[in-house]
């Protein structure tokens, strides 16, 4: 039973990573387990290969199949992947049952046991250690991955692809990492299963078992590594008990436990969407009586604040301080339509280095649309955008971010459950280079420390040093806006596009923000600012661009704009003077 729980938990772990962390879902993990089990069985019986060679083959097979399936479905919106998994879960099951090579519905038997250093792991007690060591190793690797740069990118997926891509994350790649890893765990679990049971048939790899794996992940706690083990344990034991109880109760034989599982799953998602693990932790704390007043990670975060950022050694862009490059960002004839609505028409503007350019206009004038077009979030219908002389229109958002054009959003888009520090570190994503392989083995700790150092530095710069360890969702709206600026700054940008950064800020905070923006200007950044607070804008901006109904109606120095009769009529009101 313990062996069974661990093998099942390995599959559930992959689903925790997919469903709980990355916001993807698969109903077809049982098919990957089956693939692993059958590859192991065929290679060791028909071809007489060593189970260890079989393991290599299993890993190669599952990874390549997952890669192929992922390539097809992962770029589509959320629900196609799970629908796809239902289809291949069913298909593979029918293939297992109908291929003569695989023994049809009777399956394959007399699979050899695994041997390690000449010791045969034939008995349940002997294979026990191998299975549990595999599970704990996988849990450790997964945990390592989650606490790394790649892991932050994966966790950012749940907040939607828009933010992640704007921070330079290749979301398709992050999804693929998660998906392939989950499939790999399932495949290895199947390999263990085949050599432990020494017999395989199609029934444990059906779609319903695939749903059961998902149930374990959701029940245990879809965002925690330990939740997988908890969920696997609870579901396995519950199933055993129900399979014994229900047929006696109902006086008929059949898989009635699915009724209870289904009902529990619905109730769980309605009332405890985070699963049992957080409750289990709370219960343990209450029993032990420990009062943990500060959230985990506080001392670590504080330590980052004390270090000198110049030690971080992250790559920085060479900025030409003082020189005013006139064409830092240059837009020409930009046009965007939504059906019959013209959101932007013939917009041309220039942002110089070391300049604060304010973009103002009534609500619905097309300012935020313009931001989306400049940063590649939406495709423009016509026009050209140049950044440092390079044409960037038509590029992906993440490629534009890579060139140093970074932004904040009008409607704050943070990852509310991640800490302030981690949210800012996400902005520095493109300044790190280590991939997932280094991350799972924690070979990127130097770089990770550097990224955290940089994030802490930016937090201090915008005045968030006190709240580094808090979940971003717990901050006041004004602080969340400031956090977005810090996140953009962590990318070491050349130009900063800020969408209403002062909205929701108090007077003192606005003054601090203005001070920060002046400092950035002195450092040679170009800042393009959408803002409604006129006193704030006029006191800060070097030049102002005014939009109305999707077109630019005036641009120039603040004093000139304030006198412009069209602007006064359209926007400022007559008595602003």
């Amino acid at each position: 039973m313990a062996n069974h729980i661990a093998m099942v938990a390995l599959v559930a772990l992959g689903l925790v990573l997919m469903t709980g962390v990355a916001g993807l879902t698969s109903f077809g993990q049982a098919a990957f387990v089956g693939l692993g089990a059958y590859v192991a069985a065929v290679l060791s019986t028909a071809f007489g290969l060593s189970p260890w060679l079989g393991l290599v083959a299993v890993m190669l097979m599952t990874v390549s199949l997952a890669f192929a399936l992922g390539w097809i479905t992962l770029r589509l919106s959320g629900h196609y992947l799970p629908l796809g998994t239902i289809a291949w879960g069913l298909s593979l099951y029918f293939v297992f049952g109908n291929l003569e090579l695989l023994g049809g519905h009777t399956g394959l038997s007399s699979i050899p046991a695994i041997e390690i250093f000449g010791i045969s792991l034939k008995s349940a007690n002997a294979i026990y250690y191998l299975i549990w060591i595999t599970l704990f190793a996988a849990m450790l690797l997964t945990d390592n991955l989650l606490h790394s740069r790649e892991g932050r990118a994966i966790r950012a997926l749940k907040g939607g692809v828009l933010v992640a891509e704007s921070m330079g994350v290749n979301t398709a790649r992050s999804k693929m990492i998660v998906f392939v890893l989950a499939a790999l765990y399932a495949g290895v679990s199947g390999w263990l299963y085949a050599h432990y049971q020494r017999f395989v048939n199609p029934s444990p790899f059906s779609l319903h078992i695939g749903i059961e794996y998902l149930f374990m992940a959701v029940l245990g706690g879809a965002a925690q590594v330990w939740g997988a083990l908890l969920g696997a344990g609870v579901v396995t034991l519950l199933k055993e008990w129900l399979q014994d109880l229900l047929p006696r109760l109902l006086g008929a034989s059949g898989n009635f436990e699915s009724i209870v599982f289904g009902l529990l799953l619905v109730l769980l998602l309605q009332h405890a969407p985070k699963g049992l693990w957080p409750h289990a932790v709370g219960l343990c704390r209450a029993l032990v009586g420990s009062q943990r007043s500060e959230p985990p990670g506080t001392p670590v975060a504080a330590a980052y604040l004390e270090r000198d950022v110049s030690l971080s050694g992250l790559p920085t862009r060479t900025r030409m301080v003082g020189t005013k490059r006139a064409d830092l960002l240059k837009a020409q004839g930009i046009e965007k339509r939504f059906g019959g609505l013209i959101a932007n028409q013939g917009i041309s503007l220039e942002l110089r280095q070391g300049e604060i350019l304010a973009l103002i206009g009534p609500n619905g004038a097309g300012k935020s649309t313009l931001f989306d077009l400049l940063t590649g979030v939406q495709a423009l219908d016509a026009g050209e955008v140049f950044f440092c002389g390079e044409a960037i229109h038509g590029m992906q958002a993440r490629d534009i971010a890579k060139r140093g054009l970074c932004r904040s959003f009008q409607h704050v888009r943070l990852l509310p459950e991640m800490s302030v520090l981690e949210n800012i570190a996400l902005g520095a994503h493109l300044r790190g280079t280590h991939g997932p392989l280094h991350a799972v083995l924690h070979l990127e700790r130097r770089e990770e420390r550097a990224l955290m150092l940089e994030a802490a530095h930016q937090a201090r710069r915008v005045g968030l040093a006190e709240v580094l360890h808090l979940p971003a969702g717990s901050l006041a709206l004004g602080q969340q806006r400031t956090l977005e600026i810090a996140r953009a700054l962590a990318a070491d940008p050349l130009a900063l596009l800020l969408d209403e950064p002062a909205a929701g800020l108090r007077f003192g905070e606005k003054q601090q923000l203005a001070e920060l923006l002046r400092e950035l200007r002195k450092d040679g950044l170009g800042v393009l600012l959408v803002e409604h607070d006129m006193a704030f804008v006029m006191g800060l901006a070097d030049r102002v661009v005014v939009m109305e109904h999707g077109i630019v109606i005036a641009q120039g120095e603040p004093s000139v704009i304030q006198q412009d009769p069209r602007v006064i009529e359209a926007y400022l009101g007559v008595d602003l003077g």
Binding site: L24, L76, A87, L90, S258, L263, V266, L269
Partner: protein, 352 residues
């Protein structure tokens, strides 16, 4: 393969395809209005066929008990929330009482009395049997919406999909409890066959094709002409906007689940004479409707119908050429479809 077989298989394919098309339409409809991918659709197919089979075998259909239990829970929930609002026995609650408590009770009592007086349901005319089965199964649709989906109507599509799969599990299990593991096949709506242009056509085939087309036209008229249909379309386009116009999302959700249940149940009765239905057969049938709906990207009604017909034809020819792999072939059809969609897809906008 000679021409006769080609035509015979085409007939089979179109018949099944028409049923898949009905299911695909219901799936697209439910998804558009509620964002729920309605996996339990297939269970309505099975429940429809098996309830009809129970009636024809003069057995008490277990689905009535399900209706009664679900109805009681729904009513208690409605009552609980109404009381928390401190709003007495309002109009809404009276509806809830009537449809979710009184109606199932009347059905249970009526069927029980009929059974006690050894009345033979099989003596009823077919149309009455069909109507009775519809009355038993279809009200389950809105109840399932009430119990499973309404409390989390704002949840992401992904979570709704998991709930949907969970509901499917529950219903399959309940189907096993009520109908047992044996399959049933109901007699065709009318016996015999016609010869059209030298080709023999089963009467049931005509029933399937004819009533499917009628049902589709009916749905079209409902959505184009009736106020309720327009309300559903408005909700599908923009829920907030529809809400501001006084269309409650809860109402839209229940209505669309009612329609989906109606379509599913009726499809089950259509397919009952064509293939043996077991408690878990509905799932596979529903999924084939899904493949059709996915071909249409879950948005286009005409494409969904075309896709479902394609699935039916593919299945018919696949079962001739490689019968043990026909399911694999049918479900693999979505791979090229997804691939094609994936290559065209390029949008950063969130679909959380």
């Amino acid at each position: 393969m000679n021409l006769d077989i080609v035509i015979l298989l085409a007939q089979d394919g179109l018949t099944n395809g028409a049923i898949y098309a009905l299911l695909a339409l219901a799936l697209v409809m439910v998804f558009a209005v509620t964002r729920v991918i309605f996996v339990p659709q297939g269970e309505f197919v099975a429940f429809g066929a098996l309830t009809l089979a129970s009636l024809q075998a003069n057995k008490f259909p277990g689905t009535v008990w399900l209706l009664l239990i679900a109805g009681i829970i729904c009513f208690l929930l409605d009552w609980h929330y109404q009381r928390r609002l401190g709003d007495g026995l309002g109009r809404r609650l009276r509806w809830s009482l009537l449809w979710q408590l009184v109606f199932p009770l009347i059905l249970v009592i009526a069927l029980w009395m009929a059974q006690a007086s050894s009345f033979k349901f099989s003596n009823l005319p077919l149309i009455a049997q069909l109507l009775l089965a519809l009355l038993i199964v279809v009200p389950l649709g809105p109840m399932i919406y009430r119990l499973a989906f309404q409390p989390m109507a704002q949840a992401p599509v992904l979570v709704l999909l998991i709930v949907s799969v969970a509901v499917h599990l529950v219903l399959v299990g309940i189907g096993l409890v009520f109908f047992g593991a044996e399959g049933s096949r109901t007699p065709p709506f009318s016996e015999g066959a016609l010869t059209l242009a030298g080709v023999p056509v089963n009467a049931q085939t005509l029933w399937v094709l004819g009533t499917s087309i009628l049902l589709m036209i009916g749905l079209g008229l409902f959505f184009e002409k009736s106020l309720f249909g327009k309300a559903l379309r408005a909700t599908a386009v923009n829920q907030t906007g529809a809400r501001l116009m006084g269309i409650a999302p809860v109402f839209a959700g229940r209505l669309v689940f009612l329609l989906a249940a109606l379509i599913g149940t009726y499809s089950g009765m259509l397919i009952g004479p064509i293939t043996t239905i077991y408690y878990d057969t509905g799932f596979l049938i529903g999924l084939k409707g899904f493949v059709g709906a996915i071909i249409a990207g879950l948005v286009s009604y005409p494409l969904a119908v075309a896709g479902a017909l394609l699935v039916g034809l593919l299945e018919a020819y696949a079962s001739f050429w490689a019968s043990s792999f026909k399911e694999v072939i049918v479900f693999s059809l979505i791979i090229p479809v997804l691939l094609w969609r994936s290559l065209r897809h390029q949008d950063l906008h969130d679909e959380a």
